[in-house]
Amino acid sequence: MKNSTLNFLKDRLNGLGRSVRENIEALGFATRMFFAILGRSVALLKRPILVTDQIYFLGNYSFVIIAVSGLFVGFVLGLQGYYTLNRYGSEQALGLLVALSLTRELGPVVTALLFAGRAGTSLTAEIGLMKAGEQLAAMEMMAVDPIARVLAPRLWGGIIAMPILAAIFSAVGVIGGYLVGVPLIGVDDGAFWSQMQNGVDVMKDIGNGVIKSCVFGIAVTFIALYQGFQSKPTPEGVSLATTRTVVISSLAVLALDFLLTAVMFSK
């Protein structure tokens, strides 16, 4: 009786230690892989078509979902913001509310979450299947470095596409807020734009939003590549890696957003 309890505890402790060790090891490998990709990116300058290819694949294909989501988020912000502000008789500030929430928070964050779902998963699945089909191993046999040929252009494609998508999201969202606020509800047109222009600072609000979206782009794309590269070369392994990409990159985006907001917007 006593012995079995002890054994149970021992197993638990062993398991705990192993999982901590594995996680730290994974973190170390991820860091090494990140710098390996960065170090092999110089070769891309000679073949920029590889990156263009990925921007097309990650950016252009995500354009429609980002633009449509931005429009509807703008609509909802316009409606909800109006009902809340109306209680305090300050519905004139609707433009400011819509623009600040989009450029500071919703633009970068929602775009990153959608990007993780739309582009991150396809990256993971693509690389996972390349690995399962032993294409990566075949490349190495032909003395083609898979990190330089496959991973690096995808990382840079994601880093470039993400801020562009976030800017489109914010701009379309502002237009959506305008459409609901001014023609539909009847907020004064001049007050809507002038309050917005008085309150939104180009460097502080829009600039920091762009920095945020660049950071999210790096995080989401790298997590997707890492999960694909580390996946087990089986159908289950690839599907598990795809799920993990969405879960981990969404959590990473939200956590990073908190940190960045704390650094940027607290004086």
Binding site: I49, T52, D53, I55, Y56, G59, N60, F63, G95, A99, T103, A161, P163, I164, L165, A167, I168, S170, A171, V172, V174, W193, M196, Q197, N198, V200, D201, V202, D205, I206, V210
Partner: protein, 161 residues
Amino acid sequence: MKKNSLDLWVGLFVAIGLVALLFLALKAGNMSAFSFQKTYNVSARFDNIGGLKPRATVNSAGVVVGRVSSIGFDDQSYQATVTLNLEERYQFPKDTSAKILTSGLLGEQYIGLEAGGDADMLVAGGKITQTQSAIVLENLISQFLFNKAADKGSDKDSAKK
């Protein structure tokens, strides 16, 4: 052929992104309010600046003539030192007075300049000597309540007599 059409689509995508950023900066942000006019600095001291912030507007007769560039504290006179960044095309007499005003009841605070009658003009690095502090709502209310109480007290006194 395939390469060319790919470049076209990616170029279009990047161009739409740039247009979106430009739209945010010009239409939603304060980029269009940046003036590239030459400016000069003058300073003014206030007993209390209330909620005045850097980059608040400086108005004269309701027209924006400059912005607050910095706010400091002078521990010799225990006053706030406010540096104003005025546009060079607007010149003000030396005895101009500055007031801290509020737009609307609870709006942003800004500085209002009222021109004086002096023949000499303010120069860069000059000082505005006549200033009026911000009105602090709490002080106003406590003053009002105090006056009310004093009135009531004197009413009672007169009733007794």
